[in-house]
Symmetry: C2
Subunit: 476 residues, 2 copies
């Protein structure tokens, strides 16, 4: 395809995108396609000859769009916000257009240095000290794995350079709360520690935050049994209820055993841009690594996850590669992000942050985060004031966890009821919410924070929830 | 930003991209900016208020573009091709515009099922049997790490579910040739095996392919010493010289010890689309995992790396997560790609393959690959016919490794000379080549395969190399 053919096609495509984004609220929020439907529409022998752009965009409209959940809809309250602010979409398009190759600094100096600039901007916007050095990863899962690998190597004095983890005499142990995201156990298992050496620390029954005394006790028991505490993952803004583990105390306990502290603030990190939320993050300066995702609430399009560390030398020591074909005269003077993570090749991901921050400005992003917090507080107030409804966890950010508890239901029926009324909400297509099992009870998470969601949308959600919980037939 | 503001901005941006791609050959191929220059231009306090699109695009043109190596230029012969075919750029733009969230099947059924369709198309186009099941990863580094993790878990009967690798009594060993990509040792170290348990198997001095007898001997020695062969990485198309390890023999030797065979064909996999190249890949059906990168020679924009495995059940067993908030009624009926790799969240990467294959058609991609192979053969013939020049390795695909060997130079001077004349080529800005140390000798890799590179460009490169090697002043 020539640049001129591309020009014509791309103009058509961006019109299609603008139309799509303008009409997103007309679509059912949750994709309602059946398993296999999309595949059945599109499968067939591999294409030998070109099809027209019109054919392709027809399939995009009629098959792909109904096949995605509308995360950019004002009715999206599922999981966590997954905003794709259009400023950041422009940056992503610029990255695609440039087609740069991020392997070494030399392959694209700007790809490296814009990343240094934007990770530094976000560090400052979050009020983190300049002891921290950041890089962009795809997701918090990967960032957590990197942290668990570096923790493993610090605890073993770089066993990777000798006989590996298998040569270690006494077991290394990792700690995280029962409310930690599923990516934390996954990272611990992939890093080789083993499930037997993962301690899920109990949480406070009200705040659902890690109980530091339980952590202290578990660590002492492990040490007494000849095991070595290697790392603790503190979750700030858990997936279930956005609970905040007490990092100050965790870091102090971890320090007694030389254990690495990784802070997973995947969703909540954006709130650090708000000075009034900073107290929730007290103690992060005492951690060893800190990760959060601009691709969630802040709204820079996925995938854009930040991992900050303090000891870059150790990070690079664990993750570096330096074969001859990647060497250059500038080595030593420049940052080589290939040595800060798992992949060698990198997209120009920093452009989407650079576009987003510069075209929107930090002040407008903070205003939107504040709007969502106020909406969550308003909704929590409504729920708390309504008979037979409960707010199940502190509302610190933008997620409101609720239960509808009619007095005539037994406890088993109540658990089923939460899932059923959530499904009735979702079946309307007007909103999409996700239930979650939190410490043995089903709650319905109302995760506010899609970019177009205003107070009126949240009020409509609350009406919908009440109707659904009363078994009123969905209006579709 | 509203959809209408986006529309206006995106039209400007795609014009900019078309202009950029049309003029790419006017720019120096290698970025010539000094370390820190880009950062110095763009650093400053975080942006509080919006800047205009014009300001941003001005910086894009004047700072970012000179700050990237022009991988889309006909003069790009460095590392490996990193094509960003404009058909695939359109698919990448569509993915950005949709802003879909790939966490579970439910979050975006089409994101999952289009990926099933395109990985299946490429399997067929490569002549692989339907025993293989593919998914898209960011890079071959990550795919190799996944393979090393699954190999570790197979060898230990799922030690991740017990005491982890640290509880294993006898060491696990991994084998790869001395010519394997740097991501292979990195994956082995990150997976916890340890450097002491990585065997770099010698290669044939002429073909630079793994010596299977050496592999057999090393495995026997390890077994005799109480160690367990866990995995072999066979490289098809090595980074240095595109050598092909003998997979049939490797798989047969590995099978005697139950070792996992991972085939790393990151660059060369595209050649499997050419029936005439299939003999180079003989034996891959006997491997356990097979990875290659459409984002290299085939030209689907980075990041787009495929990993095929035969035992999906085991893969998922090692990598799965299933917390309550990710459960849905359709579980069990659908593919959950979150359990096929490291990250939970995924971009809609399959769209760039879907657009590329459908808008270009496989036939035109094969024609381009054949053009590049013919150009490499032509260049190899020129080099071989010229006094004082050597072709240093078999030219099986599109990379020609050369040395200029004037008779009056001693061996030390010769090594320096190769790096010097390559630097003289690069300093002209008309071409960019990368030297590499291959089995103790510096060679200059002329890696043909940028999408716009035609025979005339290769002829000009050859003239430039001869001038540079003679010390003729570069023309700039």
């Amino acid at each position: 395809m020539t640049p001129e053919e591309f020009r014509a096609a791309a103009h058509e495509l961006v019109d299609w995108i603008a139309d799509y984004r303008a009409s997103v609220s007309d679509r059912p929020v949750r994709s309602e396609v059946a398993p296999g439907w999309v595949r059945d529409q599109l499968a067939g022998p591999p294409p030998e000859s070109p099809v027209s752009l019109d054919t392709l965009m027809g399939d995009l409209s009629s098959v792909v769009v109904p096949g995605v959940t509308q995360t950019q809809s004002p009715g999206y309250y599922a999981w966590f916000p997954s905003n794709a602010a259009l400023e950041s979409v422009l940056g992503d398009i610029a990255a695609s257009g440039l087609g740069a190759l991020g392997i070494t600094w030399q392959s694209a100096p700007a790809l490296t240095e814009v990343e240094e600039v934007v990770t530094d901007w976000l560090r400052e916007l979050c009020g983190l000290s300049d002891d921290w050095h950041g890089a962009i990863h795809d997701t918090a899962s990967t960032a957590c794995l990197v942290a668990m690998l570096v923790a493993r190597e610090r605890a073993t004095g770089l066993s990777e350079d000798r006989g590996g983890l298998q040569a270690e005499a006494s077991p290394l142990v990792v700690y995280a709360s029962t409310q930690a995201h599923s990516s934390v156990p996954k990272a611990v298992l992939l890093a080789g520690y083993g499930r037997d050496n993962l301690r899920l620390v109990p949480v406070d029954p009200v705040t659902l935050a890690m109980d530091p005394e339980a952590l202290r006790r578990l660590m002492a028991e492990d040490v007494a049994a000849g095991r070595r505490p290697a790392a603790v993952v503190a979750s700030l803004g858990t997936t279930g209820t956005t609970a905040f583990d007490p990092v100050t105390e965790i870091a102090s306990i971890a320090a007694q055993h030389g254990a690495w502290v990784h802070v997973d603030a995947a969703m909540a990190g954006a709130a650090m841009m708000l000075p009034e939320c900073r107290p929730l993050f007290a103690g992060v300066e005492g951690a060893d690594s800190f990760g959060w995702n601009p691709h969630k609430w802040m709204g820079t399009i996925l995938d854009c996850s930040l991992l900050y560390v303090r000891d870059v030398q150790l990070l690079v020591r664990v993750l570096s590669t330096n074969p001859s074909y990647l060497r250059a005269a500038t080595d030593g003077e420049v940052t080589q992000f290939k040595d800060w993570g798992i992949p060698l090749g990198r997209r120009f991901r920093s452009l989407k942050l650079w576009f987003h921050l510069r075209l929107a400005g930090a002040e407008s992003i903070r205003a939107r985060l504040r709007r969502d917090r106020a909406n969550a507080q308003w909704l929590a107030g409504q729920v708390a004031g309504e008979p037979d409804w409960e707010v199940c966890a502190p509302v610190l950010l933008q997620t409101v966890c609720v239960r509808h508890v009619p007095p005539d239901m037994d406890s088993q029926a109540l658990e089923k009821h939460q899932q059923e009324w959530a499904e009735r909400v979702n079946a309307t297509g007007r909103a999409f919410v996700t239930p979650a099992l939190v410490e043995g009870r089903w709650v319905v998470r109302l995760s506010i924070g899609a970019e177009p969601t205003e107070r009126a949308d949240v009020a409509a959600l609350w009406d919908l929830c009440r109707d659904a919980a009363q078994g009123v037939a969905p209006l579709g």
